[in-house]
């Protein structure tokens, strides 16, 4: 008989609020993303100096993933095979624009290496993997809108083929002043069934 998989936890970040499994974890009156995410990271004891060097997309993905993976209380002495499947609409456009600005004036041409390294969306997966020592399968998809079916198929495939013990999935999007993260962890244990309808339900609950 095929194994069944579940969503063991999910984290949402939007509109200056962070929730874990539907319960409010942190909220701030600060509307601007950068001071909000900084205060959130400090409040949640992220304790990771490299966090402040990341671009906006990576900060968003990293914090949501960090909350989920800390909540999972993984044994730090054991290597964990947690695959990562993320998606968004804007790719790395926010950082691409910043970089473009730095190279648009031929008389003031000083491209920033620390900005350039974030001009790919999947760099945020690297940041998560470095912090949590994950040497696992990963991919980043670009869609017009949240695609629960595609995320479900990929997570199921990784788990059934035993390419991973758990899969960290979701949507992490940053463009201009708009941002949203919806990440969830899929594994054998859990209460919420892992299927497209449940994924859509959790995502839509957060949208309303």
């Amino acid at each position: 008989m095929d194994k069944t998989y579940h969503i063991s936890s999910y984290c949402q970040i939007k509109n200056s609020s962070i929730s874990l499994d539907g319960k409010l974890l942190f909220s701030s009156p600060i509307q601007e993303f950068q001071p909000f995410i900084k205060s959130a990271a400090q409040h949640l004891n992220t304790n990771y100096s490299k966090f402040y060097k990341m671009d906006n997309l990576s900060k968003l993905a990293f914090l949501a993933a960090d909350i989920l993976l800390k909540n999972a209380e993984l044994d730090s002495n054991t290597e964990h095979n947690i695959a990562i499947v993320l998606s968004n609409k804007a790719s790395s456009l926010d950082t691409d624009r910043t970089y473009q600005t730095s190279i648009s004036d031929p008389d003031n041409f000083f491209p920033s290496p620390s900005v350039f390294v974030y001009t790919l969306p999947n760099i945020c997966i690297g940041e998560i993997s470095i912090k949590h020592q994950l040497h696992s399968e990963n991919c980043f998809f670009i869609f017009d809108s949240f695609n629960a079916d595609h995320l479900w198929i990929n997570a199921q495939s990784l788990l059934r083929q035993q390419k991973a013990e758990k899969v960290l999935c979701g949507w992490v999007d940053f463009d201009d002043k708009n941002y949203e993260a919806f990440l969830y962890l899929v594994e054998e244990n859990g209460i919420i069934a892992h299927n497209p309808n449940e994924i859509k339900r959790l995502f839509k609950t957060w949208q309303t």
């Binding site: 900084k38 100096s49 402040y52 060097k53 000083f110 491209p111 920033s112 290496p113 620390s114 390294v117």
Partner: protein, 85 residues
């Protein structure tokens, strides 16, 4: 020289996003890389850009950079001797 050392500390903290440091935390002889401020290879590239942009110094030899970025004191001495801006 003291002013330049202060200026470099402020620039490094701001441009390399060293949120956990203040100017007072950085001694003139502290190692910038390794066990000191813990800067990495991307930070080194950012420092090379800063040298060009703010002081008109173009570093082309990686070995030279390794010595120049040893500490704030060494960096300030090098800038004083070679700056074009």
């Amino acid at each position: 020289m003291a002013d330049l050392r202060q200026e470099l500390k402020e620039k490094i903290i701001e441009q390399l996003n060293l949120e956990e440091f203040t100017v007072a935390d950085i001694a003139d002889d502290d190692a910038l890389f390794g066990d000191g401020l813990g800067l990495d290879s991307i930070d080194a590239l950012e420092l090379i850009v800063m040298m060009d942009k703010d002081y008109g110094i173009q570093l082309t030899d990686p070995k030279e950079g390794k010595e120049i970025f040893k500490s704030i004191a060494v960096l300030a001495d090098y800038i004083t001797d070679n700056r074009a801006k």
